[in-house]
Amino acid sequence: MADPIAAALKVEHLHVRFAERAVFEDISFELAAHSTLAIIGASGCGKTTLLRSIAGLITANRGRVMLDKQTIDQLPVHQRGVVYLNQEPLLFPHLTLFDNVAFGLRLRCLSPAVIRERTGKLLARLGLDGLRERYPHALSGGERQRAAFGRALAVDPKLLLLDEPFTNLDPDTRTGMQSLFKEVSREQAITSLFVTHDLKECLRIGDRFAILSNGTLALYEDKQTFSEDPRSGVSTEMQFWRELIDKNSGK
Amino acid sequence: MMRRALGWVVSSVLLLPFPVLILLSLARRWPWPAVFPRDLQTQQWQVLLTDSSSLGAIILRSLGMGIGVAVTATALGFACSRSLARHRHRDRLTVFLYLPFAVSPVVLGVSLLYTFLRLHLAGHFLGVMLAQMIIAYAYAVLLLSAFWNQRIEALVELASSLGATPWQLWRRALVPMARPLLAVCLFQTFLISWFDYALALVIGSAQVSTVTTALYQYFSSGDLRLAATCSLLLILPPLLGLALNRRLLSATIATRLEDIDG
């Protein structure tokens, strides 16, 4: 296993443009192993583009991405060890939930017994045990997203990229998924980038924080510094609640 | 590079029929092993269009039959497709619509012939049209039932609540909305009749001449150049239809089989 203190992910001077428009011109950051960087930004600020270029689904125009001290820019998508989780779960419609989660293990030609054991454990941990023979269409939104999460965890990714994965869920399921993600990524020592436009989700999920706007990425080492920056929106939010509380107590 | 070359090969194969047919239709002689015919002339075209073969009248009749079949099948199909789409036993009823495609047109023709003889429809172009209608209608219902979904039904309810009578509903809302699909349906059901040979042969009992029966006669009499010329006549209307309407073209992807998938 890599040195836990060393940076697992290192992005240097990443530059992506579509046609004439630069989405971002010079993004650099590092992420320590086993931690989660929560990135917040308005719609259309390039969050998805950033994740997709790290995963190799988009080719960056310039810059370098290193993972565990290895440059991965030139590697094809399937050799990067980076799993990208979409807003939509995108489960394979022709496979059962079990087969969806076991998909990556089957690719690695593991023995059926190992696949059964590893997948079974994951399903139990994610609370999907009773649904293993169901097809995706027969699952609820939350179950599908949990399955997609399990499918990503099963391959033991070096880096997990989450692109607003809980946006389409109802509020209760969403909160549940957030805590589940937090617990499981701690247990399994996952390194991840989590992109969201929801401030509360950002605060709940991240170990470190970042704001992406106008093509630049501002980084914050902890919740404290993040909250203090007016750009994070935390102060505005607190202001709102404070006024509401004052008003109510004034009555 | 390999892919580009493959693309060129596929394109050439798709285009090849047209120059071959045109050369054949213009060739006076084309003895083996000449790769191109010796001298070109328009004799075949003259034979076909002006001489005693009366192909002009045959073409007109085939066109008329095709248009009649297309309009009737599409109109009936559109009306029935809605009832089918909303029916409890939709899947079971759909099996009936596959039947004309699964049993061959020859078997269909043979099974209808005796009844048609009794009704004096055999050997008459109306009988042939009616038989073609059975296939074209099944096709139209399969194709058009894809149009009906919950969004359309919600619009129907909305229009009714705004005071539309059932007739106004079809005339002002449903037909205009379905227009692209209806155009594809008219085109394809026209082709079912225009391309048909088996039913014209069995039900027509050698008394109804169509462009396809004429083509077969030229072929069996060994005159491939006339058969090729006739083929060009057969290809021309659908080609025009595809060329004139690019949207029709791309919408055609959905047709023929897609809705057999139901």
Binding site: - | P33, L97, M133, L239, I260
Partner: protein, 288 residues
Amino acid sequence: MIRRPVSDPWIWVLLLLTAGPLLGGLVFMLLYSIGLVGLLTDGFTLRYWSYVVTDGQTWRSLLYSLFIGSASMGASLALALALQAALRDQLRRGALGSLLFLPLAVPPLTAAVLSVEIIGNGGLLSRLARAAGWISAPADFPTVLFTPSGIGIVITHMTLVTPFLLLFLIRIAANERLGELARVAETLGASPWQSWRRVSLPILLRSSAPALTVYSLALAGAFEVPLLIGAQSPAMISVFIQRRFGQFDLRTRPEAYALATLYAGLAIGVLMALSAWRARRAPCERRL
């Protein structure tokens, strides 16, 4: 959605135009073939059926049709899948995507005429082979038409079916979001080949299986192409029935009817099995 009762008049029109003539025709053919109706009937008899069922040609023709139908479909499907994988970008953009529509304007009769002129012994390919110095007479060119192997029929069907299947597969790929699912598979570690084999192919085949089965049946019952470029014997079933039926001797008619009933029964059986299979599959696996 509102469900209507069976009394909907349009449903009666539907039954009248589909089940009516087809099942009515089938019952009539059955009655004719057992001598209960017809011009020259002298009462109930099973002799036509026993003749048809014991005639080796019947089964040869049926098996031959089944073989040609599935070979045509199998070869066209394999070619269409290969072309779809190889030409993905060219099919999406550019002229090739439009050219695929051209064969839809070609009727089977014309396709058969073209086969004679292109792949026949005296056709364009044999002329080119001569020009290249590979052969010296038409007879030296491999014979594919009018032979019992039926290879010419399969090739002709392929030229008609492959472009259509390709358009069909492109459509399914778009509807099922195959591109996105393939990317998901790749981020999970699947090589392009693994992602095609484990994701794209099974989804394409599952979504198209019912349509392809009906299409195979239609190809097994094809008439024009085998009539023009097929061998005298074995004949494909439609040609076989039409020949029996078209004979001047009216006494072969009941046999032709028995044959047609037999074939229609088999085709309907396949259709019913297909429908039952879909009904069983539907609740556990319908598209998202």
